[in-house]
């Protein structure tokens, strides 16, 4: 077979995927960027960006998003690490697969349904409130649904699972010799953890935490269902521009700003993020 015909087959096989990505991803993305710089009547304008920097409520959405996402990321790591540790080192080897599968099981509902389930739990007359009132621990129900706390709980629920999986994989990759050596040299369990295990698993944690940050800051469903409209996060603000106001320029500009923030976050922790390729 000639060189020319081989490379023709090569091109023929990669072209459909390349075209699809080009036409339905790159071009729409450029269209969105152009849209963000266009006035309603047509013509170039930075108005959509100016609006973001001038309108405090728009700013506020970004600050809210950053606050919520950072709280969620920190809480999820703190809760998931000991859990992953227990699953990796305390649960007997032959039960570990089952234990992990159990931890993932509830996430086989759809994402929308899962957020709704938390609404059931946290509602004014929901399970948590009615149980606490019946037990006499609360005199009247507290408002959790439609607050930031509900958004955080919904997010943490999802990301604890995700981080448990990544941290578990990390812990299992460590050679048991590290722990043995540290113990032989007289380190206590706590010292072993702080000086040996934690530094070794830090890169994995950073990757998981970054993933949490990226997925949480771009999510519309959880804050919309659980947090409600009392306090807007960026994705809610973006959807509002499209839905209620039909303002695509503003929605596009806000989306690009959100993307820029994520990119900055990536650059800020890039040196800890060694995403290894197999």
């Amino acid at each position: 077979m000639s060189q020319a015909s081989t490379s023709r087959i090569g091109w023929a096989s990669v072209t459909p995927a390349l075209l699809w990505t080009l036409v339905f991803f790159v071009v729409p993305f450029v269209a969105m960027a152009v849209m963000s710089l266009t006035q309603k009547e047509g013509g170039f304008s930075l108005a959509a960006y100016a609006q973001f920097f001038q309108n405090p409520s728009y700013w506020r959405a970004l600050v809210n998003s950053l606050e919520v996402t950072l709280i969620v990321t920190a809480l999820s790591v703190i809760l998931a690490y000991p859990f992953a540790w227990i699953l990796a080192f305390i649960v007997p080897e032959r039960w570990q697969r089952l234990a992990l599968m159990l931890a993932v099981l509830p996430f086989w509902t759809s994402y929308v349904v899962r957020s709704y389930s938390w609404l059931l739990v946290l509602a004014e007359k929901g399970v948590v409130n009615s149980t606490l009132v019946n037990l006499g621990l609360l005199s009247e129900p507290v408002q959790i649904a439609n607050t930031r706390a509900a958004t955080v709980i919904g997010f943490v629920h999802f990301f604890v699972m995700l981080l448990t999986l990544t941290i578990f994989a990390n812990l299992k990759q460590l050679s048991p010799n590290y722990r043995k050596a540290a113990t032989d040299l007289g380190a206590s369990g706590f010292q072993t953890f702080i000086h040996v295990i934690l530094p070794l698993t830090l890169p994995g944690i950073m990757v998981g935490a970054f993933l949490t940050f990226v997925l949480a800051i771009g999510d519309y469903i959880t804050p919309q269902i659980l947090g409600g409209n009392n306090e807007l996060l960026m994705p809610q603000l973006i959807m509002m521009q499209i839905g209620r106001r039909g303002d695509f320029a503003s929605a596009s500009a806000l989306s690009l700003i959100l993307m820029a923030v994520v990119t900055l976050a990536y650059l800020a922790c890039a040196r800890w993020l060694k995403i290894e390729r197999a």
């Binding site: 090569g10 990669v14 790159v26 931890a103 509830p106 349904v113 709704y116 604890v160």
Partner: protein, 257 residues
């Protein structure tokens, strides 16, 4: 002592993880109008209501069709491109591979909005087709990455042997490469299915009258807390678990010895 604390902690986390889905399923059997305590049941009235709701059942059918078709397209395009990049020396290969995986780094909301604006401009109306195109965009990079990572050199040798024996390029691809790559193809297809099945934002932005199940469920939420939503959720949960079990059985149990 540490062990007791550890077990306690693990149980607490399992409780946290299971709490919402347990409440969801329990109150899907609620006999009265609200899915809140006290529990009056069990009753199947809300399941009957779901099955009698044409919007939900058509949403379910649409979701299944969209998931199957878009996953098939994404897996096919992913397979062809992975094979092309793995077997032929193409110029700028690294850049082009990067281009195919690029959508992985962008949130669904942004992909959906870009498509919405683009389709507006070129006059493609909101429809299942539009949403399906979006689903292929999000799943193609995933399929490509999975299949490309599994394209090894030993398979290239077998392909060469087939070619030497006179098989045409198409025959090699269909009769030799695809069967060898079966686990990767299956994993890609299955993963695409689950992402498409669960995808909300793109379908929400790009469909209007005919839509997918997650969007129909979203529409139900406007009615507030409602045992009917619990029943749909519990059904989705059940279907997903069955799919997961099938995946376990096919992907892990039948490893060639």
């Amino acid at each position: 002592m540490t062990r007791v604390l550890a077990i306690l902690y693990a149980l607490l986390l399992y409780g946290f993880i299971f709490l919402p889905v347990a409440v969801l399923v329990l109150f899907s059997f609620q006999g009265t109008l609200f899915p809140i305590p006290p529990f009056n049941g069990p009753s199947l009235r809300w399941y009957a209501a779901v099955l009698g709701d044409a919007r939900l059942t058509s949403g379910l059918a649409n979701s299944i069709v969209v998931a199957l078709v878009t996953s098939a397209i994404a897996t096919l395009l992913g397979f062809l491109s992975a094979w092309g990049f793995a077997r032929f020396h193409l110029p700028a290969s690294a850049v082009l591979r990067g281009l195919i995986t690029l959508p992985l780094t962008v949130s669904y909301l942004i992909i959906g909005m870009g498509l919405l604006i683009f389709f507006n401009w070129i006059g493609i109306p909101k429809s299942l087709l539009a949403a399906g195109i979006g689903h292929v965009v999000i799943n193609l990079p995933l399929c490509f990455a999975i299949i490309y990572s599994q394209m090894g050199d030993h398979q290239a040798t077998i392909e060469r042997a087939a070619r030497d024996l006179g098989a045409s390029e198409l025959k090699v691809l269909v009769l030799v490469t695809a069967p060898m790559m079966w686990p990767a193809l299956f994993a890609s297809f299955f993963l695409s299915m689950t992402f498409s099945w669960d995808e909300f934002v793109i379908s929400f932005l790009l469909t209007r009258f005919e839509t997918t199940l997650p969007v129909e469920i979203w529409n139900l939420l406007r009615a507030g807390l409602n045992p009917k939503t619990n029943a749909v959720g519990a059904l989705v949960f059940g279907i997903s678990i069955i799919l997961a079990i099938i995946f376990e059985l096919v992907a892990f149990r039948k490893r060639p010895q």
